[in-house]
């Protein structure tokens, strides 16, 4: 349970949502989208944004009905106590799994591009410990942390890709609209999957100052994320070309490696850029970790969520160490992606319907 003064404002919630969504997905997104839709990948991003917005709006509607209840309490009240309990457990599992996958992808990128000989355990544990340190302070300090760090990665990212302008060949994105609609739709689904993360607000929603502006939160955050992805995909594809983007494991990082800074102070700046990306990963990891802890606290109706933070630590760590290689990791990623359809869309949708039915039924009584 959250303390009474641990509330976040609308703007903080927007920052929280954006920071949660943007993270590890950035590294692989251009590959997935070009595989799905070739040069039309940017259309896929926009379509995916629309899908993500729909699911975010559903979640937002559910949040407005909380009325001061926690997520689990609300679920229990409309679907019954056992179902509410089950949903809580599933969400907690999903959040823990998301943490693990985020950490694992992160450590792979770091090992590949920055610290070749550093053990994976060190990379994962250090970031997890920091996340532990942050979320123990509660929701509001976490949101404040997001707000402070947003301009840092935003400015760095926008500026970094501008340096690739001279290498970019925007004709790579031509011709438009050559992809068949079924492929476009399928591609936009995978784009929408990389916009998963809004569901943390389902559990963090209890900490909102006011639920009046939840739709604004959904709209602004998903719009920002879509714009960022659009920017990213357009630059990556036009620098690397469609075919090469499909081939590379982490196309975004390869674009960053090709950047040369005018002036000649530094030669290759992918290491500092990846370091800034660490901030983005951290701001994805922490909300998931926090959501997992608070969900479990809500299940047990505990007064203080802090005791569940260390309890989750080993689970996240061991899960993140489980995949044996990149291929296995890829299948895990797909699994979590598919789960996010369930947790970001299906369950909120069921709750929306159930809540409406219950409200109507209650009125007619």
């Amino acid at each position: 349970m959250l303390m009474d003064d641990d509330r976040i404002s609308t703007a903080q919630a927007i920052a929280l949502a954006i920071n949660t969504i943007l993270g590890v997905g950035l590294t692989t997104l251009p590959r997935e989208l070009t595989k799905a839709a070739g040069p039309d990948c940017w259309i896929v991003v926009i379509l995916g944004g629309i899908f993500a917005l729909i699911s975010a709006l559903i979640i937002a509607t559910v949040i407005t009905r909380f009325n001061g209840k926690t997520f689990i309490e609300y679920t229990s009240s409309i679907l019954g106590r056992p179902v509410g309990f089950l949903v809580g457990v599933l969400y907690a599992f999903y959040f823990v799994l998301s943490c693990a996958v985020v950490l694992r992808i992160f450590s792979s990128v770091i090992k590949n591009f920055v610290l070749e000989s550093t053990p994976r355990e060190f990379i994962i544990i250090t970031l997890l410990v920091l996340s532990f340190y942050l979320i123990r302070h509660g929701l509001e300090p976490m949101a404040r942390f997001m707000v402070i760090n947003t301009p840092i990665w935003l400015i760095t990212a926008v500026a970094a890709f501008l340096f690739t302008f001279n290498k970019a060949d925007f004709s790579e994105l031509l011709p438009f609209f050559r992809t068949p609609p079924d492929k476009l739709l399928f591609g936009s689904l995978s784009a929408a999957l990389s916009m998963a993360g809004f569901e943390v607000l389902m559990v963090a929603g209890q900490g909102l100052n006011t639920t009046k502006h939840v739709y604004k939160i959904a709209l602004v955050s998903i719009a920002t994320v879509t714009a960022s992805y659009l920017y990213l995909v357009v630059f990556v594809v036009s620098v690397l070309g469609v075919e090469e983007t499909k081939m590379l494991l982490w196309p975004t990082v390869d674009v960053l490696r090709s950047i040369t800074v005018p002036g000649g102070i530094l030669e290759r700046i992918e290491a500092p850029l990846i370091t800034v990306w660490v901030i983005m990963v951290f701001t994805t990891l922490s909300p998931y970790y926090f959501s997992a802890a608070i969900t479990i606290a809500n299940i047990f109706n505990a007064k203080e969520f802090k005791i569940f933070v260390p309890l989750l630590f080993p689970w996240i760590y061991f899960l993140s160490m489980t995949p044996q290689n990149v291929l296995e990791l890829e299948s895990w990623l797909k699994f979590v992606g598919n789960l996010s359809i369930g947790f970001g869309f299906v369950i909120p949708f069921i709750m929306l319907i159930a809540g409406s039915l219950k409200a109507r039924w209650g009125k007619s009584q």
């Binding site: 610290l115 060190f122 942050l134 300090p141 404040r144 402070i148 102070i265 500092p272």
Partner: protein, 538 residues
């Protein structure tokens, strides 16, 4: 047995303070008999050789005579005032007092209202107050056959004159600094803010030192909740002595584990006045020239008094310079170590080669090299402070130039490392707040260690930890990182740019001032009026 009883009895008698809040024990009343009073007073201050007691007789040679006694502490009371304004008045002028006034209460009133030419005179009927007053530099006067005494303000001791503050020198700005005397310090602030709303609340702290601690704020600007919080925290201090405002700082700060200063300190009355006008609370402490300012934010520690006296672009430029200096002070060695040992690809080839060439023959790793140099510099700095002025400079030259040069020649450190550590140290001296500079130097070591373990990733880990720590810090309920956490762009830009004065129309909002408006722009009003006239004319 009797002895023990006597000791106990005596102790009870000489303990003048019951309460922690330093209110004197008023239960022990004065006697009518002056001999009894002298005896008890001397019991209180037994074995205090600096006590001066003077018995004398006052009165008309033909009329009634009054025995009087006065007590004060040698060195604390102003002798000239005692001689001229008390003794002389009583012993010479009292002779001309008409007979009908020279008895009993009437005489007491006359002495109080008409004879003593000291500005501040208080009455007392107990020993507790009298003893405390005497220990503070006042003079206590007892008159025979009266159970009331007078406390005369004769405070005047040898004190340091108002001088230019040594730690916060400015190029432009007033040259007076706080001194060790509480009242002088309050006066220095009062001279700048001639407003009845400038309130001064004094509390006494320290069971033995009974130090005057003043809480200054401007009523109507300062948020009462912050003032109350400051007073509440001051009242929780129960310590044997307060010798410097540092004691108070450490007792009332929100998080004593953090090495960031959670209270700003200043030696300059103009800074104190400026902060009061922004809605802060200033804590002045006797015996120290350092005032404390609460609440404090991280970015206010980067400000210097001059920022608001100089032209806005100079001030803004300097502000940005200070920020860059802070960045270098914290990360310069760490970045170098990370780049050289983990990410050599980042460096341009020529630079990487030249660094490699200069490191030829250096037996240590870059980390050890950096540690050696940083530690040597810290020792030099400390040695320079302890030694008297000219020798301190010599040490700086010998240590910095001669040893540095020799170390490079001997191949112990590379010249680039010397340059880097020098930049690092100079940057840390560019930060106006000493505590913050020390915190940054400590952080530089932490960053260096992590950079040597995990390169840039280590640096970003420390950065994340640092930001988490700063985000959770509060100073008197105010976010330490404000205004960065707010969404008001205007405030956020203030961190780097000091806007031209006509544009700073509002007080900063971190102090939650009652009155936000700082300025009314009359010029603008006139212009808009003029504009209206023009419009009418057309």
């Amino acid at each position: 047995m009797g002895n023990i009883f006597k000791t106990l009895f005596n102790r009870k008698k000489t303990e003048i303070f019951y309460e922690r809040d330093m209110t004197p024990d008023k239960s022990r009343k004065l006697y009518k008999d002056i001999d009894e009073n002298i005896k008890v007073f001397n019991e209180y201050l037994a074995d205090c050789d600096d006590l001066i007691s003077r018995e004398f007789v006052v009165g008309n040679p033909n009329g009634p005579k009054h025995r009087m006694v006065l007590f004060n502490i040698d060195g604390l009371a102003d002798k000239k005032v005692v001689h001229e304004e008390i003794m002389k008045s009583l012993m010479l002028f009292a002779r001309q007092v008409p007979l009908e006034y020279s008895v009993g209460d009437k005489f007491f009133q006359l002495v109080k209202d008409g004879l003593i030419t000291v500005a501040e005179v208080r009455e007392t009927d107990n020993f507790g107050e009298a003893v405390l007053a005497v220990l503070s530099g006042d003079t206590a006067l007892f008159i025979d056959k009266l159970d009331r005494g007078l406390i005369l303000n004769t405070r005047g001791w040898e004190k340091r004159a108002v001088q230019e503050p040594s730690t916060e020198a400015v190029i432009r700005g007033s040259r007076d600094g706080f001194t060790e005397t509480y009242r002088v310090n309050v006066a220095l602030v009062r001279r700048r803010i001639k407003d009845p709303n400038l309130k001064v609340q004094t509390v006494r702290l320290g069971r033995h030192t009974r130090t005057d601690v003043g809480v200054l704020y401007i009523k109507g600007i300062a948020n009462p909740s912050i003032v109350e919080e400051v007073l509440k925290r001051l009242n929780t201090i129960d310590i044997s002595g307060v010798l410097e405002s540092g004691y108070i700082e450490q007792m009332i700060e929100d998080n004593y584990l953090s090495f960031f200063p959670l209270l700003r300190r200043t030696e300059r009355p103009d800074v104190a006045a400026a902060c009061l006008l922004e809605g802060n609370v200033v804590i002045l402490c006797d015996n120290t020239p350092f005032a404390l300012i609460a609440p404090t934010t991280f970015f206010s520690l980067f400000q210097s008094a001059e920022d608001y006296y100089e032209n806005w672009y100079i001030a803004s430029l300097i502000r940005i310079l200070r920020m860059s200096a802070a960045f270098l002070a914290v990360t310069a060695p760490a970045l170098y170590v990370a780049m050289v040992s983990y990410h050599p690809g980042m460096l341009p080839t020529d630079l990487a080669l030249s660094i490699g060439a200069t490191r030829e023959g250096v037996p240590f790793s870059t980390t050890v090299e950096a540690l050696i140099m940083m530690l040597a510099l810290e020792v030099l700095r400390e040695a320079g402070i302890r030694l008297p002025g000219p020798i301190g400079q010599t040490i700086g030259i010998v240590g910095g130039l001669v040893v540095g040069e020799a170390a490079v020649r001997a191949g112990i450190v590379s010249p680039i490392m010397v340059i880097l550590i020098a930049i690092n140290a100079i940057s840390s001296f560019a930060i106006p707040n000493f505590n913050l500079a020390v915190a940054f130097r400590l952080l530089a070591f932490v960053f260096l260690l992590f950079a040597s373990v995990a390169g840039l990733y280590g640096i970003i880990l420390v950065y994340l930890g640092l930001v988490i720590h700063l985000v959770t810090l509060k100073s008197f309920g105010v976010n330490y990182l404000s205004p960065l956490v707010s969404f008001k762009m205007k405030r956020v830009i203030d961190i780097l740019v000091r806007p031209p004065l006509p544009f700073i129309k509002e007080r900063p909002d971190y102090t939650k001032p009652l009155d936000r408006k700082r300025m009314r722009d009359l010029r603008q009003d006139q212009e808009s009026e003029g504009g209206d006239e023009d419009a009418d004319g057309r």
